[in-house]
Structures are given as structure tokens and as C-alpha cells.
């Protein structure tokens, strides 16, 4: 299927992109890797008059070390994020989630910022970004502002990015030496999560010093399994502690019911996957 006709610009600076955006704000779409947007346009679920392609803006690409945080440019591809030694070292949870995301061809084109801006409830990067306490640097013609992960995801495919704004980069606080695991349960012919669990933990002297657990597709936005997290902290890193914590993983969630599973099934999956993810993240057999 072919998209409806649109105009196309490919600016080489963020300022130019922001200027086009504010000139056409009602009838425009930002194009990043296109791996979610082009299927939407091909199905004609959306017919924007103008696409602004960010693909030629070099300053939006790349990963840098900024003291206590890593900064990932919005246009960095999934492939480049998963190949990054910096990400592996300081945000292992992101590397873990990347190994389960889509397929190699899609990872060569799709971008970190595009996946987070798209905010698909089944997307695999939103829960890890939430669990790691990422902050989002959002640019507009007037300057830029920072939004924390807890306020970034506002609804189904909705974020705090305004219609004259572009996500420029994402800051991930370093979680150096934290164990991490992303567990994802899929329908086999299809890579999207029915439920995903993103767990990262810090174990010191045999005790859980800190724990973060994010949930994919357990509501319209990514969620933290807060009861699970607080029941772990200060407790011995054992299978018993994990089993008790995992039993709380679905508390306070509001999962959807659809062809892939009803809400009860998803709550069950969340508990089982949380147990697996925590055991793997903490190295507990």
C-alpha cells in the first residue's frame, strides 16, 4: 500500500526542523526511522500534508558520556544503541531490551527517540526508560525543556512532546554495575510484547540495595512495579525474596484484554516474567 501524497523536507539542523514545524504545525508529522510511521501512512491511518525528516540532522545522532548520565541522541538507531559499549556498561537494561526488539533490518533504521516518541504500550524501550529514571530533552523554537520519565508518557501513543516540539535527546542516569534483564513474552510469529518486564537491581553484600522494575503493556502507559521494588530493598538476594516480590508485580496495573490475552492472563504473565527477570538480573538460580 502506498501513502497518500505529502510534501517532504529534510533539514540539516534542528533549528530549521523546528522552524518548519512551527510553520505547519496542524498538518505535519516528524519522520525519524519511519519504522512505525511509514506503516501507519501506508495503511492511511494518518495523512499529514508534510513530513519533516530528521534523518539528515547529525547533531541528533550518537551516544555520549556526560558524567553521571549517558546522553542518547534521539536519532541514534536501535542498532547503534545495542552495539554501544557505553550503554552496555552504564545502562545494561537498555542493551538487554534491544536484543528483543524487532529484527535486524528494523533495528538498522528505527531510532531510540522515535520508539519513545511513538509510545506504543507494547514498545520495548518505554518501560526500561521509565525504570532507569530517564529524562527527556525536548526542543522547540523557544529553547528546550526537560521532562522526567514519570511525566513523559501521558497516554496511548501520547507523550508530553507538544505539537511544535521535537525530542532531541534522552538522558539516562548511569546504573553502572547494576544487573539487568528484559523478559518478553510474544506471540511467536510476531515480535511485539504481550507483556514485557524490565528489571534492574543492585546487589551489595548479598542484599538488594536497589531495584527498579518497569512493565510493558500492563496499561496504556509503561508502569513501575512499585510494590515489587520496595519489597526487595534491604532483603537478601535469594529465590524466596524474589518469589515474594514477583507475586506483587501486577498490583496497581490495568492491563488490556485483546486477542493475545485477557487482563488476568497478563497479570499472571507479569508475575512470572518479573520472577524470571529478577533472578537473571541478580544472578540467583
Amino acid at each position: 500500500m502506498i501513502p497518500a501524497a505529502f510534501d517532504y523536507v529534510a533539514p540539516t539542523t534542528l533549528d530549521e526542523a523546528l522552524a518548519s514545524l512551527s510553520a505547519h504545525r496542524d498538518d505535519v508529522k516528524i519522520l525519524a526511522g519511519g519504522q512505525s510511521l511509514l506503516p501507519v501512512l501506508r495503511m492511511r491511518l494518518n495523512e499529514p500534508g508534510l513530513l519533516i525528516d530528521l534523518g539528515r540532522i547529525e547533531s541528533l545522532r550518537g551516544i555520549r558520556d556526560d558524567g553521571d548520565a549517558l546522553v542518547i541522541g534521539a536519532m541514534t538507531t536501535h542498532h547503534d544503541v545495542s552495539a554501544s559499549a557505553l550503554v552496555q556498561e552504564h545502562a545494561l537494561l537498555i542493551s538487554e531490551a534491544m536484543t528483543h526488539l524487532a529484527d535486524p533490518q528494523v533495528r538498522h533504521r528505527g531510532t531510540f527517540g522515535g520508539a519513545l516518541s511513538h509510545a506504543d504500550p507494547a514498545g520495548d524501550l518505554c518501560a526500561p526508560a521509565l525504570a532507569l529514571g530517564a529524562t527527556f530533552v525536548i526542543a522547540s523554537a523557544g529553547g528546550s525543556r526537560t521532562v522526567d520519565a514519570g511525566s513523559f508518557f501521558t497516554g496511548l501513543f501520547e507523550t508530553a512532546i507538544g505539537e511544535d516540539e521535537i525530542l532531541a535527546e534522552v538522558r539516562i542516569p548511569k546504573h553502572t554495575d547494576w544487573g539487568a534483564r528484559y523478559e518478553k513474552f510474544v506471540q511467536i510469529a510476531y515480535q511485539w510484547s504481550i507483556v514485557g518486564v524490565a528489571a534492574t537491581v543492585q546487589v551489595e553484600g548479598g542484599l538488594f540495595a536497589a531495584a527498579r522494575v518497569g512493565l510493558t503493556n500492563m496499561g496504556i502507559v509503561p508502569l513501575r512495579a512499585e510494590a515489587t521494588e520496595s519489597s526487595l530493598v534491604g532483603q537478601p538476594a535469594t529465590a524466596e525474596t524474589i518469589a515474594a516480590a514477583a507475586a506483587l508485580a501486577a498490583d496497581g496495573t490495568n492491563p488490556p484484554s485483546d486477542l493475545n490475552g485477557d487482563a488476568d492472563y497478563r497479570r499472571h504473565l507479569a508475575r512470572v516474567l518479573t520472577g524470571r527477570a529478577l533472578r537473571a538480573a541478580s544472578g540467583v538460580a
Binding site: I2, L41, D103
Partner: protein, 165 residues
């Protein structure tokens, strides 16, 4: 219409395209590169896989204008006319195809995989071909062909340097 210039299978091309033109449509309909095929409407099947600037992409999910200034290799540019790339040779020898519809995409993705990992395990081959669906073979012979190609390529160094540059 938007002007684009790119290199396709080693040849410089310049054209006017509508921005909504998909790369696969441009390759097939404007350049006659019908070796690259379309197998689905959802970007799941991988039959349309080509290399853009040295990396595999699904050409049904890229706009031709996004490839402007870049370099594209299709199944038709993988080896010089009359010759076969080692991956093509291995697919023939190891019966890595039945109807052949998925084959151009499978081969382009296998070449990308072998560029990144010259001697992949069976598991790595399966993971590397995750975005390519075959409804005939059951994948067994495809995986065997890719592993065989990796041996062919190792024994023939330096191979692949020209074809996919």
C-alpha cells in the same frame, strides 16, 4: 516531485520521484530491479530486503527520498553478471529455497549477517534472519546454507570486499 541521486548496484542514478514513493517501488518500477520483491503489507516478511549504505533494510519501509545521496545494493548487484555471490551459491547447493519468493531478501539479510559475524552459530543465524519469513522450507536448509556460505567465504579470502562495498 523531489530530485534524488543515488548509487544503485554500482551505477549512479538520478530521478524525480513523488516523496511518498517507497524505495522498493522506485527500485522495481522506475529502475526495473524486479529481483527485489514485495511479500507483505506490514513490513514483517523481509522479502524486500536490500542494503542501504551497507546495512540491510526493508525497502518497503523506507522512502526513496530517504535514500537520496546514498548507496543501495539489491540482489541484482551482489555479484558481477554471470557470477554468483558465495551466499547465492550456498543457497543453490544446500537447497535453501523452494518457491524462491523469500530468497532475494533471505540472501541480502544473510550477507548483512555474515558481514557483521563471519562465522555465526546456528542460533545466531536464526536470530539474524528473524525479520525474514519463509512459508516453504521450514528454515532448516536456509540456516544450513548460510552456515555453509560462511565456510565458503572464510576459505576464499578476501571475498565480498568488492561486491558489497
Amino acid at each position: 516531485m523531489t530530485s534524488i541521486r543515488l548509487i544503485v548496484d554500482g551505477r549512479q542514478v538520478a530521478d524525480e520521484v513523488e516523496p511518498r514513493t517507497l524505495l522498493v517501488q522506485y527500485l522495481r518500477e522506475q529502475l526495473g530491479k524486479t529481483g527485489t520483491v514485495i511479500g507483505c503489507d506490514t513490513s514483517n516478511c523481509g522479502a524486500c530486503t536490500v542494503h542501504l549504505n551497507g546495512r540491510s533494510v526493508k525497502s518497503c519501509n523506507v522512502l526513496a527520498v530517504q535514500a537520496d545521496g546514498g548507496e543501495v545494493t539489491t540482489i541484482q548487484g551482489l555479484a558481477p553478471a554471470g557470477e554468483l555471490h558465495p551466499v547465492q551459491e550456498a543457497f543453490r547447493e544446500w537447497h535453501g529455497l523452494q518457491c524462491g519468493y523469500c530468497t532475494p531478501g533471505m540472501i541480502m539479510q544473510a550477507v548483512d549477517l555474515l558481514n557483521e559475524n563471519p562465522s555465526p552459530s546456528e542460533e545466531a543465524v536464526r536470530a539474524g534472519l528473524e525479520g525474514n519469513l519463509c512459508r516453504c522450507t521450514g528454515y532448516h536448509n536456509i540456516v544450513a546454507a548460510v552456515r555453509h556460505a560462511s565456510e565458503l567465504m572464510a576459505n576464499r579470502q578476501p571475498v565480498g570486499s568488492g561486491a558489497d562495498a
